[in-house]
Amino acid sequence: MSLYATRRQRNSMATTLAWAAAIFGLAWLLLILISLLYEGVIGLSPDVFTQTTPPPGSKGGLLNAIVGSLIMTAIGVALGTPLGMLAGTYMAEYGRYSKLTTVVRFINDILLSAPSIVVGLFVYELLVGPMGHFSGISGAVALSLLVIPVVLRTTEDMLLLVPGSMREAAAALGAPRALVIGKVAYRAAKAGLVTGVLLAVARVSGETAPLLFTALNNQFWSTDLNAPMASLPAVIFQFALSPYKDWQQLAWTGALLITLAVLALSITARALSAGRRKSK
C-alpha cells in the first residue's frame, strides 16, 4: 500500500511540476507580448508612417527605417531565394541519394542557426571593407545569406512531399527531367515553396546583428543602395539605448511593428502549409 502511495505521490509531484513549467514558460512569453503591446500602441500615430526619424527632443516617425527595412528585405529575399530554391531542387530531385546532398543538408542546417552576427562580419570583410564604406546593398547581401538556408530547407522538404508517382506519370509522357521538375513538381509544391519564402522574410525582417556593420543606419531619408541605410531593427537598437524618452517610445513602437509583421507572416505561412498538409 505504501508503495502505491509513494508512486502516486511521485506521479502527482511530477505532473504538477510539468503544469508549473508550462504555466511559468507561457506566462513570461505572454508578459513580453503584453508589455510590447502596451508600450508600443501608445506611440502609434500616423506620424510613425509619414515622418522620418527625428533628432532627439522633437517629433518624428520611422518612415525611413520602415522603407529601408522593406528595401533591404526585398533585395535580400530576391538574391537569396533563387539560390536556395535551386540548391533545394538539386537535393530533392537530382541528387536525392548523392553524397553532396547529405553534406549540403548538414551544412545548411548549421547555417540555419549559426549566429547572425558572424554573417555580418563576413559581409563586412567581403563588401564593406573593399568598398570602403557602409551601404544598403551590403546589408541586403547579409540578409540574403540568412534567407538561403530557410528557403533551401523548405524547398527540399516540400519537394520531397510531392508523390513520386506524379513525376513518374510525367516522365512516362516523355517529359524530360527539367520539365518534370518545372511543370509538375514545382506546381505541386507551390504552396510549400511560398511558405518557405514567407518564413525567410519573417526571419530576416527582425534581424539586427548582421545589419549593424553592413548597412549601419541612417538618420535621414535615403534610398541610395550605395549609402548607409536605416532599418527598423537598427533604429530600435540605437533609440532604445538612448537616454531620450521620445526615441525610446519610437523604439517600442518599432518593436511592435516588427513583431506584428513577423507574426502575420508566420501565421500566413502556417495557414498555407496547413492547407497543403491536409490535401496530402
Binding site: A22, Y90, I117, A178
Partner: protein
Amino acid sequence: MTTSEPTRRESNGTGDMSDMTMEDAAPRSAVVDRAKALSSIALLDRIFFHVTRAAAVIVLLILGGVIVSLFHGSMPAIKAFGFGFLFSEAWNPVTDKFGALPAIYGTLVTSIIAMLIAMPVGIGIATFLTELCPHALRRPIGIAIELLAGIPSIIYGIWGLFVFAPFVQTHVQPPLISLFGDVPVLSTLFAGPPYGIGLLTAGFILAIMVLPFIASISRDVFETVPPVLKEAAAGIGCTTWEMMRYVVLPYSRVGVIGGIMLGLGRALGETMAVTFVIGNAHKVSPSLLAPGTTISATIANEFTEAVGDLYTASLIELGLILFVITFIVLAIARYMLMRIEQKSA
C-alpha cells in the same frame, strides 16, 4: 525506322534527286525538327541539372567563405597575440592589448544560466503538451509556442532593458544579495550592488528566448515515440511519470539532447537579446550580478567604433571563436537529431 532506312538508301542510289526531295521533304524535316527539339530539351535538362548542382555547391562555398574570411580578417590579431588571446583578460584599445577571456567567460556563463532554466522548463512544457494538456488546447498552445520561436530577438532585448532589468534591480537582486550574503559560496555568486543588468539578467532573458525552441523540438521528439510503447507502459500499470521517465525519455533521449544543443547554439550566438542587458564590461567577475560581456555583445557594441587594424582584427577573431564554438555545438545537435529521425523513419 529499320524499314525506312534501306528504302531511303535505295532512292539515294538511283540518283533521282528531285523525286526524292519532293517526296521525303516533309517527313525528313519533321525528323530533323524532332531531333533538334530533343537535343535542345536535353541541353536544357543538362543546364538545369548543372545550375541546381552549382547552387548546392555555392551553399557549401558560403560556409567555407565565412571561415576563410574570418580567418583572414583576424590574422593581425592572431599574429600579435597567438593563443594567449584566448586567456588574456586585457581589453584596452588605447594600448592595443586585447584578450578574449571576459567575452568567452560571459558567453559561457549566460548560456549555462539560460540552459539551466530553459532545459527543465522546456522539457516540462513538452511533457505537458504531449501528456497532460486537455486535447482541445494542445494545438493552439503548440502553435503559439512555435510562433513565439519566430519572434525577433531584439524584442526580447528591448523588453529586458525597459521592463525586466528595472524589475530585477528593485525586486529580485536586493533580496538575493541579503539572503545569500552570509552563505560561503553563494555570497560570491550574488555579490555586489544591484545594477539590474548583468550576467544573471542576460542569462534569464536568453532562457526565455530559447524556451520555445527547446519546448517545440522536445515535443516533436516525444511524438516520435510509438504509441504502442506508451500503451504497453500504461498496460502494466505505470503512472504518467513512470512512463515518461522509463519509456518516453529513454526512447527519445538522443533527440531531446539534440534539441537542447540546438537551443544552446542559439544562446551562444545570440546578440540582440543579450547586448541590451549585459552591461558591456570587459572583466571576469565571479558574481552573477556583475555586468559582463559576451562575444556577440562585444562585437555588436564596438565593431563600428573600432579604430586601428588590431582592434578590428581582435573583434573579428572573437567572431571566429564564436563561429567555431557554435559550429561544434550545432554539428553535435544536428547529428543527434539526424539519428532520431532515422530511428523514427
